[in-house]
């Protein structure tokens, strides 16, 4: 039938065919999930009204200044920087969590649970990561090596986990984040505390003295 038509009529028919083949959402009738869907538009307006005059804007300053004390970092955050921070901290993704292991020797003096001043830089990085990731649940696990009694190590690891939590909440200024602390003592070593022949493994013990942070 098309062959029988004069050229201009063919053009009209072909144009109409092309228009019919184009996705419907190019024109008015967006589907349910499209951005111009009246329901999406209405929901957006409703959401805006719930947010009030500030429209849910989160101020950059304040929170970050409280954390690190460096105003220049306050709103210089970016996905690239976050990647770098996580990389510096040796972060690993485990399931839906981000796991960061901090050396106990960096955080604490021997047999103590007061955060060392030189450890604050690492903790500040962690605060930054938690803020940028916008996560609200953080589990802090304390671990020790196998020296000392089990009961003592359990107590020490719990106190160390709580000390990290206290730092996050006070010096870190992490508001709106729920922290959970667990002391595992020597129960969950990262590596063996002794060599296969039974001799001491100081390197292994160093790795076992740690605080693990699980960001959920």
């Amino acid at each position: 039938m098309v062959k029988a038509m004069i050229p201009i009529q063919r053009i009209i028919v072909l144009t109409m065919l092309v228009l019919l083949c184009m996705p419907a959402d190019v024109f008015a009738g967006k589907d349910y999930i499209g951005p111009k869907d009246p329901q999406a538009v209405a929901a957006a307006q409703e959401a805006l009204s719930r947010l009030g005059p500030e429209r849910g804007a989160i101020a950059y300053s304040g929170r970050t200044v409280d954390i690190i004390g460096l105003q220049s970092i306050a709103f210089a955050g970016s996905a690239v920087e976050l990647e770098k921070i996580l990389s510096d901290l040796g972060a690993r993704k485990v399931g839906t969590e981000i796991l960061i292991s901090l050396s106990g020797d960096v955080l604490f003096d021997f047999d103590k649970w007061d955060i060392k001043q030189e450890a604050e830089k690492e903790l500040a990085k962690l605060v930054r990561a938690i803020s940028e990731l916008n996560k609200k649940n953080v589990v802090i696990e304390g671990h020790t090596d196998s020296r000392g009694s089990e009961a003592y190590n359990l107590k020490l690891s719990q106190k160390r986990a709580e000390a990290v939590k206290a730092w996050f909440e006070t010096k870190g200024g992490l508001a709106g984040v729920t922290f959970q602390t667990i002391g595992y003592g020597e129960a969950k070593p990262a590596t063996p505390n002794t060599h296969p022949d039974g001799s001491d493994n100081p390197e292994g013990r160093t790795k076992n003295r740690r605080v693990e942070i699980r960001i959920r």
């Binding site: 053009i11 538009v41 957006a44 959401a47 101020a59 709103f75």
Partner: protein, 150 residues
């Protein structure tokens, strides 16, 4: 008369194609180099900013992309403010397409090599004095100074 109709139809076709093929405002690669994202729309209407983003696989293999809409945000460096996506009354982000409603909505799809998908998200619009914003999408290098259309 027939000629006039033909010209008219051509004009409609041209306009329709122009709308469909949105020019990227800005393109950024992914941090793993397997794909790129292009912002193809950043329009403000009735105090709502609608962002449209093309996700295109640039590697020779299919790429599985998973992210939460809660992790996408816009910053206004001028006002030093950060905006998260708008949520509806059920706590779901006003965005799409969604694979499921995990954490308010999650994009999860394996995009075949060379193909692209378009996502959209609605945010509270920054004040009228703000002309450009930065956009952050997980796994993608940041978009800086994205011009808003008002």
């Amino acid at each position: 008369m027939v000629k006039k109709i033909a010209v008219f139809m051509f004009l409609i076709l041209f306009a329709a194609v122009s709308v469909y093929a949105l020019e990227p405002i800005q393109t950024q690669p992914s941090t793993d180099g397997k794909m790129e994202a292009s912002i193809v729309g950043a329009k403000v209407r009735s105090n709502v900013l609608t962002l449209k983003v093309d996700l295109k696989v640039t590697s020779g293999k299919d790429v599985k992309i998973i992210f939460l809409y809660q992790d996408i945000y816009v910053t206004d460096l001028n006002e030093k403010k950060k905006y998260l996506a708008l949520k509806d009354a059920d706590g779901l982000y006003i965005a799409g397409p969604k694979h499921d409603n995990e954490h308010g909505g999650r994009f999860w799809e394996t995009i075949p090599a060379g193909e692209k998908r378009t996502i959209w998200i609605k945010f509270p619009a920054p004040p009228e004095t703000t002309q450009v914003v930065d956009v952050f999408i997980p796994g993608i290098l940041p978009f800086e100074d994205v011009a808003l259309t008002r």
